[in-house]
């Protein structure tokens, strides 16, 4: 990289770019992560005890998760719910991406993409609050359903996981739609026509032709949405109920309410491991490499 840069800009500039990049990676990414790992491996001590005989490396903070039934349940629920959010987002985004890439005229596609993006000009917290209003017990959605006679009494959307799911699918849909759109867009239209011509119906054409082609895009979208969902704080905090707590909320509590940074660091690191694990699993499942995902 240095050689290419210096051929282009001369070696002083190249040196500066590489140094800045290196500093960024080391100081902003690597060191904080290492520090977090270091924190997670030490007990939570009073300032006076730090450096004392009790200040030694231990995995006790990690064991906590496995001994605490509630935390463990929330951890597992976070995984499961994030998978569900990912699948839901995929189910919603795939037809949309197909429409944008292959069905819509350029004008319709542009309009549709604009409509998708406009809400994202507003802050995520505010957007999530607007769902809070929409889904409220006496909110517009219940009013509409009541008026249409579809339900007899208002539904408590926000009491279980449903509100969190809806909020997350909405918040992360772009991260699924765009990789899918890119992947489907690059499919030769004649492939689809050939499949139809050979007798394939809509479902089979998608299953055998479109989806295999769009696999890297699907993998990318799924990885992004899963990581965002598993690491989300605002959505479950605002749209969740006490019964639908997310693992990130536990981590937050350790840091800012429990004052136990060491414990919080251990939990945060476990979440990171989980995300990396999910990513490798999806990549293996879809038989795609890091290079395909970065595209």
């Amino acid at each position: 990289m240095f050689r290419q840069l210096s051929a282009r800009f001369g070696s002083p500039v190249a040196m500066a770019i590489v140094t800045l990049l290196g500093m960024w990676l080391i100081m902003m990414v690597t060191l904080p992560q290492l520090q977090m790992i270091e924190y997670s491996l030490r007990p939570n001590l009073l300032p006076a005890q730090i450096g004392g005989p009790d200040d030694r490396l231990t995995v006790a903070n990690y064991v906590t998760l496995f001994n605490n039934d509630i935390h463990r349940a929330i951890f597992l629920k976070t995984i499961w719910s994030s998978v569900l959010v990912t699948l839901l987002t995929l189910a919603v985004s795939y037809p949309l991406a197909w429409y944008l890439a292959k069905v819509a005229t350029p004008r319709q596609a542009a309009l549709c993409i604009l409509l998708l993006i406009v809400p994202f000009w507003i802050n995520e917290i505010l957007r999530t609050y607007s769902w809070f209003i929409l889904l409220a017990f006496r909110g517009p959605l219940n009013e509409v359903l009541l008026a249409l006679g579809l339900i007899e009494r208002p539904i408590r959307f926000l009491s279980g996981d449903a509100g969190v799911m809806v909020g997350m699918v909405y918040a992360y849909i772009l991260f699924m739609v765009f990789p899918l759109y890119n992947a489907i867009e690059s499919l030769d239209g004649n492939q689809v026509r050939a499949a139809r011509d050979l007798g394939a119906g809509t479902l089979r054409t998608h299953r055998r032709i479109v989806i295999p082609h769009a696999k890297p895009g699907i993998a990318t979208g799924c990885i992004m949405v899963f990581m965002l969902a598993a690491g989300s704080y605002a959505v479950p905090a605002l749209l969740g109920s006490p019964g639908s707590r997310w693992f990130t909320q536990i981590i937050y509590n350790w840091f800012f309410e429990g004052g136990n940074w060491n414990q919080g660091a251990a939990y945060a690191f476990l979440l990171l491991v989980l995300c990396i694990g999910f990513m490798s699993l999806v990549m293996k499942l879809f038989k795609v490499g890091l290079g395909d995902i970065a595209k």
Binding site: N190, R193, A194, A195, R196, L198, G199, G201, R208, H213
Partner: protein, 387 residues
């Protein structure tokens, strides 16, 4: 198995644009039928209507006597070979060929039997496990044919499938396609802008221009007795001279060619029936119909000046300009004439040209599009009579 295709009063419009003017046509079962025309003439639109990708604005299409209105693409007894072939790149050769059978729920064993048989038909035994990317251009071509034949279509639709191949392979594949068509007895509908392909392979050809079918005939008839000026110019090479009819004696016409004086030509039965003295017309003389005349010979002759001599191996192509009218004429000399002319003729030399009036056709100046001799582009007709 009836593989006949009928177009019954078919019209296709896209908004204000009429891609296909009202057309009717019968394609017989087991025929190798070509649609020939320049790009944008509507031939691909026609093909897409037969395959079901497009629905005609008016009229109907029948395959084997059954109306196809409302029958979706995947239920039609047709199979298409796409210009870019559209093989499935993520599947093996076997999977490609067997796709249509898989769709129809044929079991794996029966599928494999069919694909082995088809692979041997297209002379690619043992390639079934290969990936599409490993195949050469000609091999891909054959796999595309095998994939289409696997579904046992009554009609095979081919959309310029040879255009991506190089010349030698293209000529080889022409013969192969024709052989496959004979062996299978399936109706082939072939779309091309290459008149060589259409003439060599087809039983009959429909020449199209600007959304109209200009003429439907076997290749020989098309070449010898074109019904419109467009067909005369587009099928094979032709020299066109603007003339006015001076006298008519049966099929034999005497023409007033302005500064060139009087010329002779033959009326085409049908198209030229209405031609009478005083009508504006076009005289077509093919390059191979023109001969160099000796100095002492008598009879009608055109005085011309040689502009360029191209040696093409088997024949000699001569570009000349008429002395009287400055119009260009191309001559194709072969055999004795070519041997005599080669080396002797140079640029600027005067020559006398003759032709047999019985072979040169005269067609009315009907306003059909003409082909630009220099570029091969299709233009709207210049209705300017000879000055």
């Amino acid at each position: 198995m009836d593989g006949s295709v009928s177009l019954d009063q078919v019209v296709m419009r896209f908004g204000d644009f009429t891609a296909i003017e009202r057309s009717s046509l019968e394609i017989h079962s087991g025929e190798f039928f070509s649609f020939l025309g320049p790009s944008g003439c509507g031939k691909t639109t026609l093909l897409n209507m037969v395959s079901g990708f497009l629905t005609p604005s008016e009229g109907q299409i029948l395959i084997g006597g059954e109306p196809m209105a409302g029958v979706p693409v995947n239920r039609r007894p047709t199979a298409m070979i796409f210009q870019n072939l559209a093989l499935f790149p993520l599947m093996s050769v076997y999977e490609n060929i067997e796709f249509g059978l898989e769709v129809r729920g044929v079991n794996k064993r029966a599928r494999r039997e069919v694909s082995e048989r088809l692979l041997s038909l297209v002379a690619l035994e043992g390639s079934g496990d290969k990936q599409v990317a490993e195949l050469s251009g000609g091999q891909k071509q054959r796999i595309a044919i095998a994939r289409a034949l696997a579904v046992e279509p009554r009609v095979l639709l081919l959309d310029e499938p040879l255009s991506a191949l190089d010349l030698k392979l293209r000529q080889h594949m022409r013969a192969e396609l024709k052989a496959i068509q004979r062996k299978t007895g399936i109706t082939f509908i072939y779309i091309t802008h290459d008149q060589g392909e259409a003439l060599t392979m087809s039983d009959r050809v429909a020449v199209m221009s600007s959304g109209r079918i200009q003429q439907v005939a076997d290749p020989m008839t098309l070449y010898r007795t074109p019904q419109t000026g467009f067909v005369a110019a587009f099928v094979g090479e032709n020299n066109r001279l603007e003339v006015t009819v001076a006298e008519r004696d049966g099929e034999r016409l005497t023409l007033d060619a302005g500064r060139l004086g009087r010329l002779q030509g033959s009326a085409v039965p049908g198209a030229s029936d209405g031609l009478k003295a005083g009508d504006s017309a076009a005289l077509f003389i093919r390059p191979e119909q023109l001969r160099l005349l000796g100095q002492g010979s008598s009879g009608p002759a055109l005085e011309a000046e040689v502009e360029a001599v191209h040696f093409e191996g088997a024949w000699l192509m001569l570009e000349t300009r008429l002395v009287a009218s400055a119009e260009r004429l191309r001559l194709q000399l072969s055999g004795e004439q070519a041997r005599g002319a080669a080396g002797r003729l140079t640029q600027g030399e005067r020559v006398r040209l003759g032709y047999d009036p019985a072979e040169a056709v005269v067609l009315p100046n009907d306003g059909s599009p003409v082909v630009d001799e220099e570029t091969g582009e299709v233009k709207e007709a210049a209705n300017v009579p000879a000055a």
